[in-house]
Symmetry: C2
Subunit: 224 residues, 2 copies
Amino acid sequence: MNMKTLIIVSHPNVQDSTTQSFLKKSAALEEVTWHHLENNYTYTTIDSVKERNLLVQHDRIILQFPLYWYSAPAMLKQWMDVVLSEKLSLRGKEFGLVVTIGVKEKAYQAGGSEQFTLSELLRPFQAIARHFQMIFLPVFTISKFSYMTEEAYKKLLIDYRQYVSIDFPETFAKKEAWFLDRLNEVKEKASQPEHLVLLEEISRSFTHNQETLEELVWTLEEMK
Amino acid sequence: MNMKTLIIVSHPNVQDSTTQSFLKKSAALEEVTWHHLENNYTYTTIDSVKERNLLVQHDRIILQFPLYWYSAPAMLKQWMDVVLSEKLSLRGKEFGLVVTIGVKEKAYQAGGSEQFTLSELLRPFQAIARHFQMIFLPVFTISKFSYMTEEAYKKLLIDYRQYVSIDFPETFAKKEAWFLDRLNEVKEKASQPEHLVLLEEISRSFTHNQETLEELVWTLEEMK
């Protein structure tokens, strides 16, 4: 896997955010660059040359932020206003969003408490992807992080790692290959407790996948 | 007309913007407060108490800005992040947007060069209006200001003045009443050249309206 991912994180209180520290640990992969925008970034302090170089050097660009008034925090918009430029060539790169929200995701639908979908609200980002001829990835949403179960955290860790490192579209076969890679990595150094947790999760997921596969094969046989 | 309008202007180079200086002159009305956000506004310098008081004291709130990467300039987002708060009661107020764009408005449509409509891209603002139970007004768009004809500038002046001061929905009757008010104002002090220009425009508009009315009456008669 040679694809390089840049995660641009904007969070006004990142040091107090358990979500962001969880994600930072989850994204600690060789091919991933974690780039946190400092709170004191201003028009004059953002080094647009440096930032543009970072963008150009990566294959997948991810903006990661809590939804503030249905959009990115001002700091990230400032970064965009300064760094994004017509001269910048980002063609063919992948462009993803990791958005944390404080309510359930289903609140964002017609008839829900927020009435509009996240796809609608995040349209300006889709327009940016289109403008630069980047491939817009499905939005990765994390809702009500603090209320998650232990099981949900494990699932989030796997899903998020895949989002930042797996090739899109996320086919079943690719997910399996990704799991196999991780499994081999873990086998090599399985003495550490954190790897054992991952190993356990992987085994469970594989078992589940295999059961699903067996069911599908069985259903197909019946249909013949 | 006792309705009070607050125009919050965000433009990173307002002193160089011919559009904004034109609009500022056009909005010089008794019932309108022109509030330009200074470039050096930051989280620490925005006086949220003062800003919230301004919002509460007005009946129509208008955000006026050039579209920067399909959204508001970072400065305005900063103002929103700091000032907008769950505790703020804006219920029943009107909420409008005056958006300047550098391309023709029809570029913002499916199949156009921008592919998405302004209504789609500005959805986060509509969501804010809905959140605070404000009435979202039709977006007022100004496209390619520098390329406008003299005639188009005059029309823009009238349309913009109506947008910031007329009651919504903009019915034909209300527009006529608005024109009559302006006409009476102008008659009182018609010696100044700028008033004569306005007077001329009003007369033309009235003539046009009357012709339309006559046609409609005639068509209705025919249908009987």
